[in-house]
């Protein structure tokens, strides 16, 4: 048995020490009527057989799909050094740094991660991580409700639909009144926002850029929110953030998002890496773990988990959140990624993605029947009006080895001809050419079939 060390002889000696005759006797606290007396019906494989089976399943996919889909997770290039560090057992097989003297590695990585997030967002404090961008957004709204003692939260319909689903699930039991802020020309409707906010509003949540890749008028949103004393929560993308205005500079109170683009594989959507940053005055109300810098008794710099009285293991039912295990290894990956890419590299990734997206859009919009869905500026994700239902295009192109984007009609029934596409620095001119060719072909087929 590969994972179990005890030989029969070991077992005999140990049982003798304990003073019992068999392992079975150790389970004497489990009454017979509670016992499971059959063998579990699970086959056993050798490592060689297992790996063959894994290879088979991993290849029973369209592994070679060229990815133009985003929707919160993006196919960015991951430098080799990221994997080398993250696979080190020192990071991979440690747990939560409960004993800081032997967890300075993990704690300093968290501290550095918090610093990276603060610098990208222009906020004062960030935590060690949340499960994903969606849960981070939900926790931001829960925090806003707690601190304002209000229950109404306004969520823009331009926010990623899966985030809105998670928000609904998360806030359900807390008595939140979730109000949808409608879309207008690819942005949230500012006039409606004025009507919707009131003295019971705890928070206004938007994404910058939003699900369709458009920019929201964040200054105006913040102003409306703050006028009634509501918190302004902004969802941002850490790569795009390298070239777009920091939320700290447009008045956001809490900034959350998905840091998967920072060196974490797509991995069928998990594990991901939620981040959570806020202004200083919210520090003691934050959810999740936070590493802080301090000194040891000889005056040497060191790191610890801090503000722990917010947390469930101390405060139990009065904790700011139930989060315990988070996404530490993903935060480690993001820290290595940011260290390697740095100030210039992250900007370069953003600029390359922007350039590819604009090149692709220019070619696609030159095709008959395709255009920008909204006449709005964009960075690397964009909504395209398609010649036939986007769902059909996704299905057809996937068979040709291209994942052309996301069918917005899945969540916005009135937008069945909307394909949300994302480009990263990984997409080559040839990839774009193939995409354009396939989109053209499916468009022509449509024209033919209509005749």
């Amino acid at each position: 048995m590969p994972y179990i060390s005890n030989t029969e002889n070991d077992q005999k000696e140990m049982l003798a020490k304990i003073g019992v005759k068999s392992i079975e006797e150790l389970f004497d606290n489990i009454p017979d009527e509670l016992r499971h007396n059959q063998a579990l019906n699970i086959p056993a494989l050798s490592e060689m057989e297992l790996m063959a089976e894994m290879e088979r399943m991993a290849h029973d996919t369209s592994e070679s799909l060229t990815c133009f889909a985003g929707g919160g997770v993006y196919d960015h290039y991951i430098p080799s050094a990221v994997g080398t560090i993250v696979n080190r057992p020192e990071f991979m097989t440690a747990y939560t740094p409960y004993q800081p003297e032997v967890a300075q590695g993990t704690l300093q990585v968290i501290y550095e991660f918090q610093t990276h997030i603060c610098r990208l967002t222009g906020m004062d404090i960030a935590n060690a991580s949340m499960y994903d961008g969606a849960s981070a957004a939900a926790e931001a709204l829960a925090l806003s409700m707690r601190i304002t003692r209000r229950s109404r939260v306004i969520v823009a319909e331009t926010v990623n639909p899966v985030y809105r689903q998670v928000i609904k699930t998360t806030l359900d039991g807390l008595g939140a009144e979730i109000v949808s802020l409608p879309i207008s020309h690819g942005q949230c409707d500012l006039n409606k926002l004025e009507d919707l906010v009131d003295e019971s509003t705890a928070a206004v949540l938007i994404a910058q850029p939003n699900f369709f890749g458009s920019f929201e008028d964040v200054n105006a949103v913040g102003e409306v929110a703050h006028k009634v004393g509501a918190k302004f929560v902004s969802i941002v993308d850490p790569v795009v953030q390298a070239i777009t205005k920091a939320p700290g500079d447009y008045g956001a109170d809490i900034v959350v998002g998905e840091a998967q683009p920072l060196g974490i594989p797509l991995s069928y959507g998990g594990p991901l890496l939620g981040f959570f940053a806020a202004r200083q005055e919210l520090a003691r109300h934050m959810p999740g773990r936070i590493a802080g810098c301090t000194k040891d008794k000889e005056g040497k710099q060191g790191f610890v988990l801090t503000l722990q009285t917010r947390e469930q293991h101390i405060r139990r039912e009065k904790a700011t959140s139930n989060i315990c295990t988070n996404q530490a290894l993903c935060a480690t990956a993001a820290s290595v990624y940011i260290s390697l890419l740095g100030k210039e590299g992250l900007k370069q990734v953003a600029l390359l993605s922007l350039e590819k997206a604009h090149q692709a859009v220019e070619q696609i919009c030159a095709l008959d029947g395709y255009s920008l869905y909204f006449d709005q500026p964009f960075v690397r994700e964009v909504a395209i009006k398609t010649v036939r239902p986007a769902g059909e295009i996704v299905a057809a192109l996937t068979k040709e080895g291209i994942l052309p984007g996301i069918d917005a009609g899945r969540w916005y029934p009135q937008m069945k001809d909307c394909l949300v596409m994302a480009l990263t620095e990984k997409r080559t001119a040839e990839d774009i050419e193939r995409l354009v060719y396939s989109l053209k072909k499916i468009g022509v087929n449509d024209v033919v079939s209509q005749m």
């Binding site: 179990i4 005890n6 606290n29 489990i30 009527e33 499971h36 579990l40 699970i42 056993a44 790996m51 991993a58 290849h59 029973d60 996919t61 592994e63 799909l65 990815c67 050094a81 020192e90 991979m92 097989t93 747990y95 004993q99 032997v102 967890a103 300075q104 300093q108 990585v109 610093t115 990276h116 990208l120 404090i125 060690a128 499960y131 994903d132 699930t169 359900d172 039991g173 807390l174 920091a246 594989p265 991995s267 959507g269 802080g292 301090t294 000194k295 040891d296 040497k300 710099q301 503000l307 039912e317 295990t325 260290s339 890419l341 100030k343 590299g345 370069q348 922007l354 604009h358 500026p377």
Partner: protein, 483 residues
């Protein structure tokens, strides 16, 4: 060479740790696509470092961590077992790691097959009919279970408000209760360290939505009345939740789904050996009875009439969605790799040997320390440092002293019902030699408490930093480098 320097301290303007193609157009032209008001004012002040310096930085940091491949890590209720490498090799196969979650199901067949296989295996291990892999941590599993309770009662037109939780429960239990808007009623464990059915009967009424029970509990003791307790809870219309954090104790021996529990969560990062990662990612799958299946988070992986796997979003009774996509898929691959190399028989032997190792340690240490609860333990047990505290040495001191011997201390000061608690979980992957070394170290520390207590109270002596000023960290909050 200065120790402890931040990556920012190593930054030098103009250094690069990456290679990327050039853009075709210039930066100014490209940024022209972004309206001025939304453009970044100044570049984010991120570090500028070469790849070799980055590697040295992180390798130096890594050396400051204790981890399971370095030494013993008997952290109670965390199940720090060895994490087989084949798990990671499987998860990093390109077909898994490179797959976008919004790829149509028709092009994701192998991934869905793996998830379906894991759902089967967890169902088989727990005795539950339906499994959702979506929750990404134990606490999120608890949260889902409590939402299922709410949905169940709501459908019956009942407004229940309370959850019963033992005083030995993990902190996440009451925190999860609050996060769904329920109220916790704490119930006392009896002298045997378990919950007596009578004490449940006393407080159980129609305002109680259900009860959460960890089995075995955090004292490492099997809750032998769990079936009777479930009957009491059910008789009043409540539901029974099992916290599966301690599942490593009873796989193949006890199936909660068979004996009155309505739901449970699994911690795949504990029981199923997916790496703990310095604090995640975890995975907190849940299992429920067929009656509760309709409430599971959507989407639900199902087979259609052509026997093809697909995600069903049309689930009108579902509690909703918890995760952006389907959960921590990478952990699912690892857990599946683990389970399938053990098989049904091997899984049972995991628990048998985890329990054997714990009892061996308990028996070997019970004279040197106070043992608050007699009898056979399951996969972990709790000692008290009360005897040593009378000599002026706290459990915290002894924990710090253990660091000098290259081992990670047990979980300390938990469960809350034992004073000066040390909660010890050796796991099945440790050898008898490692256990014997640990016993010797513990006995030596107990001797030091008698003979030279200052050696213990001043510990650790050999770590890269000495005891850190935690109160100072709160007072002078420094959680990111300013500048």
């Amino acid at each position: 060479m200065q120790e402890g320097l931040l990556i920012y301290d190593k930054s030098v303007t103009g250094r690069k740790g990456y290679t990327l193609p050039d853009t075709e157009s210039g930066e100014t032209e490209l940024l022209g696509n972004i309206p001025e008001q939304f453009r970044r004012d100044d570049d984010a002040k991120l570090p500028e470092i070469t790849e070799p310096e980055t590697m040295r930085h992180f390798v130096a940091l890594s050396a400051k961590n204790h981890h399971i491949e370095k030494g013993f890590y008997p952290l109670g209720s965390c199940t720090m077992k060895y994490n087989p490498k084949r798990n990671d090799a499987s998860a990093s196969l390109k077909g898994f790691s490179g797959h976008h979650p919004l790829t149509p199901c028709s092009s994701s067949g192998g991934l869905l097959e793996l998830m379906y296989g894991l759902m089967h295996d967890l169902g088989e291990i727990s005795g539950f009919d339906q499994v959702s892999l979506q929750p990404v941590a134990g606490a999120q599993g608890e949260f889902s279970g409590l939402l299922i309770m709410q949905a169940y009662h709501r459908e019956r037109g009942e407004k229940r408000t309370k959850i019963i939780i033992p005083d030995s429960a993990h902190g996440t239990n009451p925190a999860s209760v609050s996060s769904v808007g329920y109220e916790t009623i704490q119930i006392k464990s009896n002298e045997q360290g378990i919950i007596a059915p009578e004490s449940v009967a006393e407080i159980m009424d129609e305002s109680v939505a259900g009860m959460m029970l960890t089995n075995p509990n955090t004292l490492g003791i099997f809750e032998s009345h769990c079936k009777e307790i479930a009957e009491i809870v059910h008789a009043c219309g409540g539901l029974m939740y099992m916290d599966g954090a301690n599942l490593n104790a009873n796989m193949g021996i006890f199936r909660p789904g068979d004996v009155g529990f309505d739901m449970m969560h699994f911690n795949l990062h504990k029981t199923m050996s997916t790496p703990h990662g310095g604090g995640g990612p975890g995975a907190g799958a849940i299992g429920v009875t067929s009656e509760l299946g309709k409430y599971l988070p959507f989407p639900v992986l199902e087979k259609n009439d052509r026997n093809e796997l697909f995600f069903n979003y049309d689930r009108p009774h579902s509690i909703g969605r918890l995760h952006s996509f389907f959960g921590n898929f990478g952990n699912m691959v690892r857990a599946f790799a683990y389970i399938r190399t053990l098989g049904g028989k091997g899984i049972r032997r995991v628990s048998e040997n985890a329990v054997l190792n714990a009892n061996y340690l308990k028996e070997s240490l019970k004279d040197a320390f106070d043992l608050p609860y007699e009898g056979h333990c399951m996969h972990e047990f709790v000692l008290s440092g009360n005897r040593q505290k009378k000599k002026g040495v706290k459990t915290l001191d002894m924990a710090k002293r253990m660091l000098d011997f290259g081992i990670h201390p047990p979980t300390v000061y938990f469960p809350l019902i034992v004073q000066e608690a040390m909660m010890i979980e050796p796991t099945e992957t440790e050898t008898k030699e490692t256990l014997d070394d640990f016993i010797e170290i513990m006995k030596q520390i107990a001797r030091e408490v008698e003979e030279s207590p200052e050696t213990v109270t001043a510990a650790p002596h050999s770590t890269v930093v000495k005891r850190l000023d935690e109160a100072g960290a709160v007072r002078n909050l420094d959680v990111c480098l300013k500048g």
